[in-house]
Amino acid sequence: MLKQREQSAFSYLYDHYSGALYSIILNIVPDKDLASDVLQEVFIKIWKQIESYDNIKGRLFTWMLNVARNASIDAVRSKGYQKQQQNRELTEHVYFAGGSTETNTDKIGLKKVVNGLKEDYKVLIILSYFEGFTQDEISKMLGIPLGTVKTRMRSALSQLKQLIR
């Protein structure tokens, strides 16, 4: 009976949130097969850690979203994925000269909103939120002082809030 109640709870959680989480995972992991793997991993993590989730700290969805984002960035940064991407880029450049199915995932979910930001802001959000770089790393990558990255990031997030509303 307990198992059965647990299963209903899990089904509820999955049926309500899997689509929203899959969307953010696809924003970070454009490969659909890998994104599906990440989604499974995310739900297993969520289910195993749900008891340690503290609802005073934040909303359940916010927590799940962060689990999904972190798992996705980890997946993209894994060695296996990097290698696969290199191979894919090589073959795609040879045969198609660009234009992969991956660009489609820019047009869904949060990334769609971020793409509506002005270029300076967009770059910062993509690098920090979708690619997981720290502000320090971004400062070095873009050759912009860390202070500027911080203030510009804040402005970008304010803008983003306006767009989401």
């Binding site: 198992k3 059965q4 647990e6 299963q7 209903s8 899990f10 089904s11 999955y14 949130y17 899997s18 689509g19 929203a20 989480l21 899959y22 969307s23 953010i24 696809l26 994104a35 599906s36 989604l39 499974q40 739900f43 297993i44 289910w47 700290k57 934040g58 909303r59 969805f61 916010t62 979203l65 962060n66 984002r69 972190n70 869904i108 979910g109 949060l110 769609k112 909103v113 920090s128 939120y129 502000q135 990031m153 804040r154 402005s155 970008a156 997030l157 304010s158 983003l160 809030k161 989401i164 509303r165």
Partner: protein, 280 residues
């Protein structure tokens, strides 16, 4: 008021999205308790993000849920029958009737697969053992065959050498310039006999041992040529030579004799050890 500027600064969003520095996180978690506006702003943005995400949801492939339910093992095969009808009440009939049996069967499938793989392992282990045994016996048989072949080859070489010897002997005997001398026991008591072939052109001497007693280990037969009444050493009889043995070159002789001497021969024949003798 300053807190309003703080709220508008973008730090709330960075906190909700998990982009805030550790110091910022500490600050905001302190301020959210102090200022209800901060808590409100956090909630507002969290809800906005959630709604945006739900609105833009992308449905994942159907099988993922099934795999997750199986992975988290909600479904115990033993309780399957009692549990199943309650699921039908929960969700739509179609998806459940499709899904629950598939989990059930996938669970038992694992057991069958495990049993099958163990069986396969045992069968393969037995197979390996049988093959190993066959391999060992084949290896031994092969070694025996190699041995046999080597023996046969060695025998064959011996026969070939013998044949060549006999061929050259018969050729020599047929040659009219070769004189054949039969050497016999001068006392005519024993039937010891050897034959000497003397080529009058090349002066080569060959000895054919027809019948001579085997000498002691420290003794050896020595052939003598009698030239004008004097014995001349014509060579030692090699105990290894079983057929026609080439002896020393003798330009001229009237008779041949064989004595038994010490191994290596003597400068003069020991006459009381004269075994055979014959004149040309």
């Amino acid at each position: 008021m300053e807190i309003k500027v703080y709220i508008e600064s973008g730090i709330i969003e960075s906190y909700v999205l998990g982009l805030a520095d550790p110091e910022d996180v500490l600050e905001i978690e302190r301020l959210r308790k102090e200022y209800p506006e901060v808590q409100q702003a956090i909630d507002d943005f969290s809800i906005a993000i959630q709604e945006q995400a739900l609105k833009n949801a992308v449905m994942p492939p159907k099988e993922i849920k099934e795999q997750l339910l199986a992975a988290l093992s909600f479904q115990d095969p033993l309780t399957y029958k009692s549990v199943a009808p309650m699921h039908v009440a929960h969700n739509s009939n179609l998806t459940n009737e499709n899904r629950v049996p598939s989990i059930y069967s996938s669970n038992t499938n694992w057991k069958y697969l495990a049993a099958a793989s163990i069986m396969l392992f045992i069968v393969s282990a037995i197979g390996n053992l049988l093959l190993y045994n066959r391999y060992t016996s084949t290896k031994n048989e092969y070694a025996a065959l190699i041995n046999e072949r080597n023996t046969l080859q060695a025998n064959n070489q011996v026969f070939q050498t013998n044949l060549k010897n006999y061929q050259s002997a018969s050729e020599m005997m047929a040659d009219p310039s070769v004189a054949m001398v039969q050497l016999k026991d001068p006392a005519h008591k024993k039937d010891n006999m050897t034959t000497v072939f003397w080529d009058s052109k090349t002066k080569d001497v060959y000895l054919l041992t027809n019948k001579l007693p085997a000498p002691d280990k420290n003794q050896q037969y020595q052939l003598w040529a009698l030239v004008d009444g004097k014995p001349v050493d014509a060579g030692m009889l090699d105990p290894q030579c079983t057929s026609l043995c080439k002896m020393k070159n003798i330009p001229k002789a009237q008779a041949f004799a064989i004595t038994l001497e010490k191994v290596g021969g003597s400068p003069a024949p020991t006459m009381d050890q004269l075994f055979v003798m014959g004149t040309i």
